[in-house]
Every structure is written in C-alpha cells, then in structure tokens.
Amino acid sequence: MRNDDHQPTAEPTPAAAPEGLLSNLVVGIGAIAGGVVVIVASLPMPTLGTGRPGPGLFPGMIGGFSALFGILLVATSLFKKRQATHSSSGTAPSTPPSEGAVTPAELGGEDEDSSAAAGREMEATPKSRWTHVLVVLGAILFYVLAAETLGFLITMFVALLVILLTLGSRKLFAVTIAAGATLTLYMVFERLLLVQLPDGPLF
C-alpha cells in the first residue's frame, strides 16, 4: 500500500483565507453539485394518484436546500475573502497573501516529499500517516472480502495485526494484542451474544 511515485502537487502552496477558504469552497461546491444530482434523481420518482407530489418531494426539497446552502457558503466565503484582501493590502490580487498555510492534506490527500515536509513545520501531515488511514480502511475492506472464505478468526486477526504493525507496534506485542482482541471479540459476540460470525475452513 506504499505510494512511491513522487508526484509533486500540482497546486501551488495554497493561500488560506480566514477560516479555511478552500475547505469552505469544497464543501459549498460539493453541496451544490450533490443537491443538483439529488433533485435530478428525485424528478422521475412516481407521484401520488392525483398528481400530488409523493416519494420524490422530500429528496427534492433536501436537494434544493443543499444547493441553496452551498451557494450561500461559497458566496459568503468569497465575500469574506475579498473583504480580507481589501483590508490587508488594498489591492485584490488573484492569490492573496497567505495567513497560515493550509496543510497539504486539506487539498485532498496528496502530500509533497516527506523529507521536505519534515523540514517544514509539523503542521504538514507526512505521507506515512496518510498510509495509516489507507491501511485502516484497507483492513476493513479486506475483512469484508475475506471473512466469508477465511472465517472470522483468521481474517480479524490478520486485519488487526496489519493495523497494529502499521501503527508502529513491536511484533510480539502486535501478535499478542491482535490474537487477544480477536479471541475476546469472538467470545463476546459468538458465545455470549450468539451472533453467527463467519466460519472458516479451519475454525
């Protein structure tokens, strides 16, 4: 799961307007786009007998409000940014002077070379910790895909072991914790709460 291609981030160091302009814009545009998609999806839903709105009414309204709030969010953050640049420099350049850079992580996960990142402030999140996130997600996905064939005990043990090792536990400790946690979960859920956990070929 290592990401070795050192692709430099395309965006220049982002300039942060007050209160994370970028995240506001992403959320706002996402809300607009999502809202429109939902409205479009709710239009073909059937209507109640006499042409009264039916199942599509609520999703449609939610989509509409979502788009509305998104537009308001984008508008207000752009407005605030303009105010901020006006008050700080008087001119309005396309990239305003930065006040505390946004961490590259906020750009959507890509990070610059970790050695460069280490040289900078601890603000930047090195790539290795993003792999932590991916490993946790991957371990859960692995469980979903493999549990039916390998069974609960093996799959859970492997998933937890991988997480523990990635997060920097020592080998012996990781094996102990992964085995202990797997067995405890098995005893509590399968034996005590009578949940049918997936059986494997061996156990």
Binding site: S23, L137, L167, A178
Partner: protein, 511 residues
C-alpha cells in the same frame, strides 16, 4: 406515582441491569479518560452491545456510560493538559496548573464531586421538567410533530459549532441519508441503486459506528503522535478527601449555578455538555472576585467546580426533549433515540401515559448512575496514570475490531460493515472540512419523523397546507422556529451596532 416508582425500581434493580451499568461505567471512564476519545465515540461503540439487551438495561448502559465519560474527560486535562472529551476543554488549563503545583488530587476530587452533584441536579431537572413538557406534547397531532421536528433540526444547525451554513449542509446530508430505502407513502425504493439490501434503509447503528467510531480512528492515526512529555503524576497526600469536601462546601454556590446553567442549556435541542461547561466557566469568571487567578499561575478550583457540575447537569437536561418529544438534545441522546426505536420504544408522550414504569426506571437510572460515579470515579483517579499509558495502536486496533463486528452483528450482513466504512470516510472527510457531525445524526434520526408527519398531515387533509400554520400550538412552535432562526442574526446586528457606537465614541474621545 409510588406504584410507578416501585415498578421502575423493580425494572432497574435486576442483577443484569446493575452489572450492565457497572461495565458500561468502566467502559465510559476508560474511553473518556483517553484524550481524543469522546463520549459520543464511546456511545457509538456501545450500541452494538445494547442491541442485544432489553430496553431498560440498554438505556442504563448509555446513561451510565455518558455520565462517566464526561467526568473522566477531566483526568487527562489534569495530567496531560489535554481534555479527554470536549466537555472538559473549558477548564483544562486550571486543572493542569493545579496538578503542576501538587494539587492534582484536589482538582480531580472537586471535579468528581462537582460532577456527581451536577449530575444529580440534572436528574432532578429531568424528573420535574419532563412530565410538564410531556403533558404539553400530549396535545400534539402530526402537524405539531412536524413543527417540533423542524424546531429540533433548526436548533441543531443554530447551535452547531463553527459555520452555521456548514451545519445546515451537514443536516441536509443526514436528511438525505434518512431517505434511502422504501419511502413512507407508497413503498417506492429511493436511492437504493438497485440493491435490495438497501431497501431497509441505511441502518442507524452501523452509520453511527462509522460516523463517530471509525472516523475518530482515522483522525487519530493521521494525527501526529502525542508527546507524553508533559504528563504529570498525582502525588498522594493525606487529608485530600477532607480538602475536597471543604472546597465544595466553600464554593457551593458555584455548584448550584453550574448545575443550573448545565440543566437549562442541556434542555435546548442540539446544545450539549460542552457548551454548558463553557457557559458556566464564563459565568464563574465574570462573577468571581478571584477571576484573575483562573487559567493562570497555580490555577484555581473555583471554575472547575462550576463547569464540571455544569457538564454533568447538561446530561440530564438533554433527556427532557428526548423523552418528551423524541427530539434529541445532543448527539448521545440522538444515538439513544436510535437505540430506543430499534427496541420498539417510541420516545414521546406515550412514555408518560402508557409506559410510565419505563419512564420512572429512566429517572432511577440517572440517579444510580451519578451515585455510581463517586466510587468508580475515585478508582479512576487512583489508577489514572496506568489508563493514560495504554498504547495507542492497540486501542485503535480494538476500536476497529469492535466497529467491524458491531456493524456486522446488527443484521448478520456485510452490507452493514460497508455502510460503516462509508460513513466513517464521510465523517472523517466532513470533520477535516470542519463540518460539524452532530447535525448529520439529527438529520438521520429526525428525517423520517419530519417526512412521515408531513406526509401524514397533508394526505389526511387533502393537501390543505394552511392547517400547518393555523393550529394554535403549531403557531407557537413556528414562532419558536423563527425566533431561533433570527436570534443569532439579531445578536450580531446588536453587537455590531454596539461596536460601532464604541468605535465612534473612542474616535471622538481620541481625536
């Protein structure tokens, strides 16, 4: 009433319930004491277990756990200068400074006793206020329920931290998620993408586990490892217990005002313990003669007493709208409502008419939980340095394990694990974009309520929409919604006007 009381007591005083309360309490203390692990996370991890319990022990587990977790958040405040839960953030500085000057046991001691007293007061608020509000709610029809739900949703957005527009968007996400599955009017499948397994909708429990459990794990593994250099140890001292009680007695007014603030703030839908603690801290600071000592120097116990009783009192208050209307007062009560619905109990006026024994057992649980906090909290203070040494990777792995099995156990299906995974990524992303998560939960819980009551009303009256506005109770609720919507705006206008006036005055006097 006596009859209900004894019936309620009978339901609580079973070995099963008591054992569940002790276990949930220990669980809450443990997770609450770890920085970054919130009471909501603990609640989310607890739901799969409550799923297998009877309603009363299930509720008991959640109430006990949250009372414990909110106190336990003070422990890392005092030892690491990091609040264990957001509710402790207001007075972290005071607690840490007291510890550094050798009074850590005193700081945690007053916080424990303050929490217990505040929690008991919150229970009293609940016991007296809930029936009154419940009686009011008895006159509700689907029109009023629609407006109450709208009121809850509005409050969730207004009170959400950070940008209110983002809170509103979060609410829309929650509402949208609640529409997945078969619709209420004609059973038409919405947003199921052809998957039959999504017909039953997005199950609440895996959604919560993902939103609050998995997303916290992801946030934690991304955060830089916390340097444990500032960790302080508690030094044992003779007579500290006596010291604690004499301090509580000296600042008994603070306990009372904190509890009152907490109890009333908690009642507001969407405002929880952390807001209660901040307000109480501000009140103490503004009214104390010793406020110059707060948060600096050697720290002071006075604000800790007020705020720690406020955040536990807020807990009881939050159950008033929860039980009376089925409108959650904070995220944990939103989770509780989800659990109750799964158990076949619809929170609301029914609880006050037909299920009074359940209602009384909830009251009794509140009192027992807070009394239980005293010995268990004492044990936590004694063993705090061990709890804080739990290795983080082990903790993360265990949470992931519980999250997977918990989500699976609800329906014995892997779809729930995928829902949990998706909601975890969603929660993680939203939190990084500083979008509050609480409105998402409220949207998921209240969405079906809003839609059902709206559709039921309009179909019964053949789309006579005026009835939404002309019924008297509806009108009162609408006024409340409008007030809520415009109160912050009005405040802002007033504040701005005042600032302008001040600025004018100062320029006039200056030049």
């Amino acid at each position: 009433m006596i009859q209900d009381l004894s019936a309620g007591l009978e339901m609580v005083a079973t070995p099963e319930t008591i054992m569940v309360m002790v276990l949930a309490g220990v669980f809450g203390l443990f997770l609450g004491a770890l920085p970054g692990m919130t009471a909501t996370l603990a609640a989310a991890l607890l739901i799969p277990f409550t799923f297998f319990l009877d309603p009363v022990p299930a509720v008991a587990a959640i109430i006990t756990m949250s009372a414990m977790a909110i106190f336990a958040g003070d422990v890392p405040s005092a030892l690491l200068r990091m609040p264990g839960t957001p509710s402790s953030a207001a007075y972290t500085e005071d607690a840490y400074r007291l510890t550094r000057s050798g009074k850590g046991q005193l700081a945690l001691g007053v916080s424990l006793v303050g929490s217990v007293l505040g929690g008991l007061f919150g229970a009293v608020v609940l016991i007296f206020l809930a029936p009154i509000v419940g009686a009011f709610a008895l006159q509700f029809t689907s029109f009023e329920y629609f407006w109450v739900a709208v009121l809850g949703l509005t409050a969730a957005v207004i009170i959400s931290r950070g940008s209110q527009l983002k809170g509103a968007i979060a609410l829309m996400i929650g509402l949208l998620l609640s529409t997945v599955g078969l619709d209420v009017t004609m059973g038409y499948p919405r947003f199921t993408f052809g998957s039959g397994e999504l017909y039953r909708g997005i199950d609440f429990i895996p959604a919560m586990i993902g939103l609050f459990g998995l997303s916290e794990v992801l946030r934690n593994v991304l955060a830089p490892p916390t340097p444990n250099m500032g960790a302080q140890t508690l030094r044992g001292k003779q007579g500290v217990v006596k010291d604690v009680f004499s301090n509580i007695w000296r600042y008994k007014n603070r306990v009372a005002s904190g509890a009152a603030v907490g109890g009333s703030v908690g009642v507001l839908p969407g405002a929880g313990s952390d807001i209660a603690a901040w307000i109480s801290y501000a009140v103490t600071k503004n009214t104390s003669k010793r406020s110059h000592q707060f948060g600096r120097g050697k720290g002071h116990v006075e604000p800790i007493i007020g705020a720690s009783s406020a955040n536990n009192a807020g807990l009881g208050g939050a159950y008033v709208p929860t039980l009376a209307f089925g409108i959650p007062g904070d995220t944990i009560t939103a989770i509780l409502i989800g659990v109750l619905l799964v158990k076949g109990i619809t929170p609301g006026p029914d609880l006050f008419t037909t299920q009074t024994d359940t209602l009384y057992s909830i009251y009794i649980i509140f009192i027992i939980a807070n009394l239980l906090l005293l010995p268990l909290g004492y044990l936590l203070i004694r063993s705090s340095s061990y709890v804080l040494r739990v290795p983080r990777p082990a903790l993360m792995a265990c949470i992931v394990g519980i999250a997977i099995v918990g989500a699976f156990a609800i329906n014995n299906s892997h779809v729930e694990i995928l829902i949990m995974l998706g909601m975890g990524i969603l929660g993680f992303g939203l939190e990084r974009a500083r979008v509050p998560l609480a409105p998402v939960v409220l949207g998921i819980v209240l969405g079906p309520l809003v839609e059902q009551n709206f559709m039921r009303s309009v179909m019964a009256t053949n789309w006579d929409l005026t009835l939404f506005f002309t019924r008297p109770i509806s009108a009162v609720l609408i006024v409340l919604v409008v007030l809520l919507l415009f109160a912050p705006g009005l405040q802002k206008v007033i504040r701005r006007a005042r600032q302008r006036k001040n600025a004018n005055n100062s320029t006039r006097s200056g030049g």
